[in-house]
Symmetry: C2
Subunit: 372 residues, 2 copies
């Protein structure tokens, strides 16, 4: 049995839970979140906050089994809240999120054999297995799928099990092969240093899916590093470099015949809660730095330090994708690259697509719900 | 004739322009941006910054007609820069951007008749007219297209002239009609207070296209207000409310059978240069505020002030879309709403889609280029 107290002096309802803790609920919050104010079908909020006064007060608070019942002064409106709903939405804590998964940082001691891995056929039919795989893939930021059909659509089929595809100026899917007139170095046989894709977009794509259809050329090994681990180490080892990279906007740009897509970003981006949200790191798409001349050398120093970390054997792991494998990684966290390959020695063909973090997280939440 | 001076003491090349101004170019910036370091076809950066020292120095600087020629100490590498390229990329100024358009703020004295307007047929064939229209649409954040074919694809055709469509959980297109089992209040005949769409997404869609195929029901007028104007006024009239709305993350959420998409945002979001970038304002999708209880009442006060401004006759304009018209607006700036309508009195059908700001701006840049 919970215990409910009205604190008129600071307009809070204090609820003492059975575990001995207690929570204060501001009156205005309670009125705004009265269950009667939500549309019964869409669950969207319909209550009009402008129709009430900020100093609204409660005439009576009662508890009836699992409900707390408030009677409001003035209009006499009655609000009924489920106790567990109140507990789940405590101010200062907020709703639990099954997709809020602490990243497990990794460095070069991560052996590719220990990456999260699943068989394509299982992911396509088994919701429990898919959920477990998505959680592990999000935790590590990098995972492998094997047993992929030798079909150009097989990677897209797995991606679409998670969410719809993110379209970009390169299409909804893209073929990583050596092309005659490339508009992107990925479409050559050059080595690609570690990078995040499409850093020139306002929101670079989230999870990338690269289905290896063939990898018979000499060279062409895949490289990865955990940008969150690098950022974490940089913050400790060189806090001033971290600060410069987290606070200084620099331009990124891609342009070809049909597009000219530009965006300033910080190389290390923090979210609203000051956690590292993503890295924008793509030497190819880095625009011409435009900060004031007197701040340029210090910035270049910080940027070069980060670049050296992405080349360091402390962070980089190498694996060689085989035909029938697909790699999935969080493009905004995990940098990817490849060794040069010799297109004369065999065919190399990866087919790629993206599913954004929003849809990926949504799938984790919905699958978590269905398990209950 | 420009005048070039080496300033070895702070590792800058000083260039005095013919107009009497001068610019300092840091050596490390010049070396990083040597034209030889870019791929000739893709124009992507290939130069390896980690291969040079931070204190690199210049042995010789010369000018030859429109080029500045630097010889680097140490490896003797020679870099040739076009003078106009250096001018265009001055540190502290950066590359001019045709899509960088100052918003023209508007309030309720904007008469709908004076909105940017064009005929669909013209936009489809005339690049110059399309460019002029996109610039005006971006400046005002709101524009009209008339003479639309009575064809559900007509709106999409215009949108695709600008860029590919942004897919969301509601699809790549959506039908705004009254539906029997709505998962969104837009799909009812209720009034919709002014809001931005999909504030629960990490990146809410940019430009929205609403093609009016039929508007024969009683009611159903469209309302708009300029969120940038409201934010601008709020910053002057109530700076503390502005600060709370620009700094406090609050949750947004949409959930139905298939999706559960959540994101914390500030209601007023500033970009990296402290300019208002967008508003996230959607009472329907506002989650349960989760900030600490002792900060709740002040936040609600600020939020309610903003909400009242969106209801104020100082800001809101009303227009009634006719069949054959399409409205285009920047969903991250301009709030939209509608009056309730009576579905018994006639059919109302809008068909919508989105093109993100990135593609919209890209089209402005590419069309600007083609005009030269």
């Amino acid at each position: 049995m919970t215990n409910v107290t009205l604190r008129g002096e600071d307009r809070m309802l204090s609820v003492a839970w059975t575990d001995g803790t207690s929570t204060n609920f501001p009156y205005i919050w309670l009125r705004d979140n009265c269950p009667s104010g939500f549309h019964p079908q869409t669950q969207e909020r319909q209550f009009d906050l402008t129709g009430i006064a900020m100093d609204i007060s409660i005439a009576k608070a009662e508890q009836d089994a699992d409900e707390i019942i408030l009677t409001w002064s003035g209009d006499g409106h009655v609000s009924r809240y489920r106790v567990d709903w109140l507990f789940d939405h405590r101010p200062g804590v907020g709703l639990a999120d099954p997709a809020e998964i602490e990243p497990a940082l990794w460095r070069s001691d991560l052996v590719p054999e220990s990456l999260p891995r699943a068989a394509a056929a299982d992911l396509m039919v088994n919701d429990d297995l898919l959920l477990a795989f998505l959680i592990e893939a999000k935790k590590t930021g990098l995972a492998l799928v094997d047993g992929m059909a030798d079909d150009v659509e097989a990677g897209v089929d797995v991606a679409r099990r998670i969410g719809f595809l993110r379209e970009t100026n390169f299409g909804t899917t893209f073929e990583v092969i050596s092309k005659p007139n490339p508009n992107n170095l990925a479409y050559t046989s050059h080595a690609l240093p570690l990078h995040t894709d499409l850093a020139n977009q306002e929101l670079p794509p989230g999870f990338q899916f690269l289905h290896c259809l063939a990898n018979e050329a000499e060279g062409g090994g895949s490289t990865f590093c955990d940008g969150f681990a690098i950022a974490d180490d940089l913050a400790r080892l060189d806090p001033e470099a971290f600060r410069l990279l987290a606070e200084t906007p620099v331009p990124f740009r891609f342009h070809d015949e049909d597009y000219d897509i530009r965006r300033h970003h910080t190389v290390i981006e923090l979210d609203l809660f000051a956690r590292v949200q993503e890295l924008h790191f793509n030497a190819h798409l880095a625009g011409i730095f435009d900060l004031p001349a007197d701040r340029m050398e210090a910035y270049y120093g910080a940027y070069r330090t980060l670049m050296q970390m992405t080349r360091s054997r402390n962070y980089v792991i190498t694996t060689r994708l085989k035909g029938g494998e697909m790699v999935i990684f969080d493009n905004r966290r995990v940098l990817h690259g490849r060794a040069a390959f010799d297109p004369g020695t065999g065919f190399r063909h990866l087919r790629g697509c993206y599913v954004d973090r929003g849809e990926f997280d949504s799938r984790i939440r919905v699958l978590s719900r269905k398990r209950n």
